[in-house]
Amino acid sequence: MKKPTGPVSHITTPIKAWAHRFAFLFLVVAAFGLMLLGKADTVLVERARTAITDAVAPVLELVARPVASLSAVIESVGELADLRAQNAALGRENERLRNWQVVAQRLEAENEALRQTTKMVPDSGLRFVTARVIGDPGGAFARSVLVNAGSRDGVEKGQAAITSEGLAGRVAQVGVRSARVLLLTDINSRIPVLVGSGRERAILAGDNTKQPRLRYLLPSAVIQPGDHVVTSGHGGVFPPGLPVGVVTEASESAMRVQPFVDWAHMEILRLADYELPRTLLPADGSALREPQERAGM
């Protein structure tokens, strides 16, 4: 571009500079406006977010697959080295697990029998949508991943995202072909859990570190390092009993949980659609009412 020269530029340059500065200030003010808009959590912002993630999803999906298979190859080369040791360890673990299987089967049968004697309402059905992790926006200030399943696959906001190891997070935003999963380590994540064999109620609150904190425990709760943490199902969004992690620190100042999920190898997520039993849903009350009553109305 040619810069204007001559006597006219003596007049236009200050005006241009002034206009530049004004435009810049306007954009800075607009940035603050965006912050307020984001804080208000409007539908508009949510739509914009889903539109963007839906737009980048196909590209990310294209790249994520080869990268995943490549890293799998690299990993398997590394694993070849200690195949023998791994084999022995797996053999031992298998033996141990077989013992547990016997215990689990016995407990399941006992549980079933007890449920029948107490006429407990059966747990509602679980339906899973399996999705591939295609993007990790990363950064120091948020913990979330994008998956390649959206509303067209039956994904809904609030569903639990789990790996084979345990709970990873919950669906925070759903597009048509993509969804954002808020990991349980994110500073905005709050998940109702039960801790230890005493099944103490607590909220697992992320703070962007690797080990989220346990909060809102009863003062009488006894918690020790090594206690297992599972989802409680309170709030009716998450299925109860999903494994979450192990308590690693249980001091007065902080109680921290190490999640079971291996974040570095989170490739596939299962999104659990937990349907509450019909009788609990007061949507139109039809499940609670007798048919005759409805006919009379």
């Binding site: 435009a23 607009a30 965006l34 804080k39 990310l60 990790d136 905005n188 703070d207 989170m266």
Partner: protein, 169 residues
């Protein structure tokens, strides 16, 4: 006549290349690499891009493009809206004011200057995150991302320089 339309389209595409390249790099940074803990310290491509292009081709990185870039980063990242927009605009304003001085600088000098600029940018990002989320955030993670961003600067700057040579002669 037809010729000039194509030339214009070509020049528009070329002048968009800093923006497009930055978006591509941002998306490349989002690919899950399965390297433990890498996602948290993935270099801030937006920051490097704005710094580089404001110094080398300020005409192709005007404030409104910076605004758009920050908005896209905010929407993709899932964090509070507006933080990237504001921080990148501040970097644009601060560095742009000294553009004439930096434009002749060697890579080494620009890298040295980038160290405090990025520090300021990350501090602002952290500060606004704390304010908007309304709770303390461990500054450690932000510090490591800052180090990674500074460390990756020469690589990305080299890439931009190649693009500048190829498309923006």
């Amino acid at each position: 006549m037809n010729q000039s339309v194509w030339t214009r389209l070509d020049s528009i595409a070329r002048s968009l290349s800093p923006f497009t390249l930055t978006l591509l790099l941002v998306m490349a940074g989002m690919v899950p690499l399965r390297i433990p803990d890498f996602a948290q310290i993935v270099p801030s491509m937006g920051l490097i891009a704005v710094y580089y292009w404001v110094i080398h081709r300020p005409d192709l990185m005007p404030a409104w493009v910076v605004f758009l870039l920050g908005l896209l980063l905010d929407l993709i990242g899932g964090g509070p809206l507006g933080i990237n927009v504001l921080v990148l605009l501040v970097v644009h304003g601060a560095v742009g004011a000294q553009q004439r001085f930096f434009a002749s600088g060697a890579l080494m000098l620009l890298w040295l200057v980038f160290v405090p600029v990025a520090a300021g940018a990350f501090f602002l990002t952290w500060l606004f995150n704390v304010i908007l989320i309304g709770g303390m955030i461990d500054p450690g993670a932000a510090f490591f991302q800052y180090l990674a961003t500074v460390a990756f600067y020469p690589c990305i700057a080299w890439l931009f320089a190649q693009a500048q040579r190829a498309f923006l002669k």
